[in-house]
Symmetry: C2
Subunit: 225 residues, 2 copies
DNA sequence: CTAGTTTGTAACCAATTAGTTATTTATTGC
DNA sequence: GCAATAAATAACTAATTGGTTACAAACTAG
């Protein structure tokens, strides 16, 4: 091509950013690298992911990937951090304090299940990261505070249920969260081997709906007095 | 080295195999390749595992690996099949028919948990295989019959408990197995990220024992009338 | 004892891979 | 308008990787 078109460039009358030039757009480039990397790492793991494949999926030159993220490992960590921020941010938006304790627990259990169902790449990334014993996650500083909020919410629901006399005295909020998460995570992340060896398609709509009800049932049964 | 020592070779007086030559021993070579491959695939996944690393771990020449197993993918499938045979074989040895229904379920839940705890490589292999949507497991023919036995055992326990009036009417044996497996699998396979984000070491002895009790409690609570 | 087969080794190869260099083009602060 | 800087491309490289070739030693059947 020759010179740039005068069309979509610079700032508009209000001094705000106009729509970016088709030729240069750092934010969009960065975002598309991150999105492409999320897919590639989720599908192939850290060891199986290919930097060239990420560049191609993102429609950018490989050099840009190193420009924005340093190297493959830092890119992977950025992907992982963004994935955690995604679920914890979505969690924030559910309001549990208006609900009865049992309803609140059920709501959180269903939220977790549905989030896992709609974000298979999150599950894959967790699997990959654990394969490597949290080697990269442990380097991340800015994640821990995200999780104390979740524990706080659960503790509050448990306290209210205990005061009402409907929940057991000795429920550990971490155990409760792990129970809900385990039931959703295992079913979805292992659906391929499970469907194969048990000869039942776990991805069918009816099976998925049945498992959601099962999760709520098991979770509540485990904490009721 | 020069000529072979006459020492440990050929057959003994009874015509049986004597202890193998130090120089040639196909069975031992094959077994050590399989053991080394199990470790390498479990630690690094299919994409991250290195054929050279397997050969080195096994203390054999890489050529032998191709001689016995064809290529990397067939070796991986052999590792996976052996891992499944391992757990299903161990399961066979527990006798549930002498136990009361509740005890039987508890026994199976504890067995599953302990097997997972003692065979982390099995969990890793499942994770890797599911990352690839059971691509290799689906090619395996000889695995399905292994699993119908397990379902049979569970159905029998559930029937007896239902007849006794202590279990609910509508329990799906597959759901029951998935519940026990999910609680063990998730805790162990995700222990590294979970310990990191929640700031609690899930591998501590007391935590592990607490989780075993939790699994039994949740499993039984979910099926009791 | 010997020819054929199996088990084993060492060195090699073509393809792939993470990361770089050299260079050009667009954008921005002054 | 213009120098400085940021964004982008294409081509390259050194190391690694899965798989192979050529060859040698050990075992077995007749």
């Amino acid at each position: 091509m020759e010179k740039a078109q005068a069309g979509a460039r610079g700032r508009n009358a209000n001094g705000e950013r106009a729509e970016r030039s088709a030729q240069r757009d750092p934010e969009r480039t960065r975002a598309s690298i991150l999105a492409a990397a999320t897919k590639e790492f989720a599908e192939n793991g850290m060891g199986g992911a290919r930097v060239d494949a990420i560049a191609e999926r993102a429609g950018i030159n490989k050099r840009m990937l190193y420009h924005y993220f340093g190297d493959k490992e830092q890119l992977y960590l950025a992907v992982l951090e963004e994935a955690y921020i995604g679920i914890r941010t979505a969690e924030k938006s559910i309001n549990l304090s208006d609900l009865e304790p049992e309803e609140g627990i059920a709501e959180l259990a269903m939220f977790t299940w549905r989030y896992f169902l709609e974000h298979p790449e999150f599950l894959s990334l967790l699997g990959t990261e654990n394969l490597h014993r949290a080697r990269w996650l442990r380097q991340s500083t800015r994640l821990k505070e995200l999780h104390s909020q979740l524990m706080g919410k659960l503790s509050e629901l448990l306290d209210r249920g205990r005061a009402k006399g409907i929940f057991r005295e000795d429920v550990d909020p971490l155990h409760l969260y792990l129970t809900m998460a385990a039931l959703g995570y295992f079913y979805l992340s292992n659906q391929y081997t499970l469907s194969t060896i048990f000869g039942r398609d776990l991805a069918e709509r009816a099976s998925l709906e049945g498992w959601e009800r099962h999760i709520v049932h098991v979770t509540l049964a485990s904490i009721r007095r």
